[in-house]
Assembly symmetry: C2
Homo-oligomer: 218 residues x 2
Amino acid sequence: MPDIRVLLVDDHPVVRAGLRAMLADFDGVTVVSEAADGGAALAELSRLNALGEPVDLVLMDLQMGRGMDGATATGRIKAGAAGTPPPPVLILTTYDTDADILAAVEAGAAGYMLKDAPPEQIRQAVLSAAAGQTALAPGVAARLMGHIRNPETALSPRELQILELLATGLGNRAIARQLFISEATVKTHLVHIYAKLGVDNRTAAIAVARQRRIIRDS
Amino acid sequence: MPDIRVLLVDDHPVVRAGLRAMLADFDGVTVVSEAADGGAALAELSRLNALGEPVDLVLMDLQMGRGMDGATATGRIKAGAAGTPPPPVLILTTYDTDADILAAVEAGAAGYMLKDAPPEQIRQAVLSAAAGQTALAPGVAARLMGHIRNPETALSPRELQILELLATGLGNRAIARQLFISEATVKTHLVHIYAKLGVDNRTAAIAVARQRRIIRDS
DNA sequence: GGCCGGATCAACCAATCGGTTGATCCGGGG
DNA sequence: CCCCGGATCAACCGATTGGTTGATCCGGCC
């Protein structure tokens, strides 16, 4: 039974060192290479494929400083940009917003773990993802289930879009202009957003949305 | 010349593993113990002091999930809560807001490094801090210098207080009530805040303040 | 004493926001 | 066909915010 060959992708040297050390303790897992952002990960996957040394699993963060982010890279990998069959991608990150989780899952990530997870959980996730199964951190799984279970409090895609623009500092008229809709439509969506979040003004909506990880920094 | 004895404090096992591995490569540095939050760090320092095995340097994150945060722990350590002479504290974190840096510096941290720093920079910082010198990441030093150099764009303490309340979702009247001032005073401060941040509405002020690390999550 | 920054307060008015009511259209599902 | 959710739009009015002008007081500094 050959080892699971893993590519580590994280912009923090400390984290890569920690993962290297942690995975070295896992039987059946070998770190074959590393990259500091999504672009470098794609290049490294291509390089290893060309050498006939394909990777079995990509373990990757979402945010990579100024480099290509993990969700974009996941989409590219799943689309075969670095060779086929594309290896599964396991996200390991500090970010647990709904938007982050959904973006990664939609991009094709096989799993989503948080960096505060103990080694044993990460080991299980690595084995599951490499075996083609889904691997979600308990908190992440709970959030997705909560999202499905409480649709009345979930914002619609359009509502989320407007909330994100609101949080960048745009007023109603500017949001309307950007989305080619009327200001009345923006106000209607805001009424719905406030009701769903249980608030009565825009700054409170932003605060609650940030607190609940519905949005985060742009 | 005995090794510098280091206590690692970080809530993420991955990061602790990475630091352990990284510091193992530094000549003259030994990781003697670890803790997952500020409270555990204080207890561990006390325990090692009682064993006659004092720590030379605490390498600590700021945010520790639900445990005691790094700035509070730093203040306690410097106040002698875990024994004297208190060891220097080197902060290693992802957070680089003005408020975070100032809080840690005011609490008595000997240095402030960011987690994206390469190993050699971390090594230099460890050696400097253990030797009683200041160790600041280049970006952090630049922020502090910028802060001193551009006082006209720096918010006054009262302005910052109002901005923070604004970001929690309070309207002018609620802020006024909380601070026992008039709504006119709140509006006057907001005028000043908007001018300093170069914006013309409250959501933009919050967004810019977050972007510039003037405020962050409450 | 004068100057400055910071904090406080008021009045006034225009602009924007929030709330309400009402409506239409579309697509999907039963 | 009906129902529902989602998206879009309008009108109206009250509430809040933003902008402007003006003022006072305090503490620190020269």
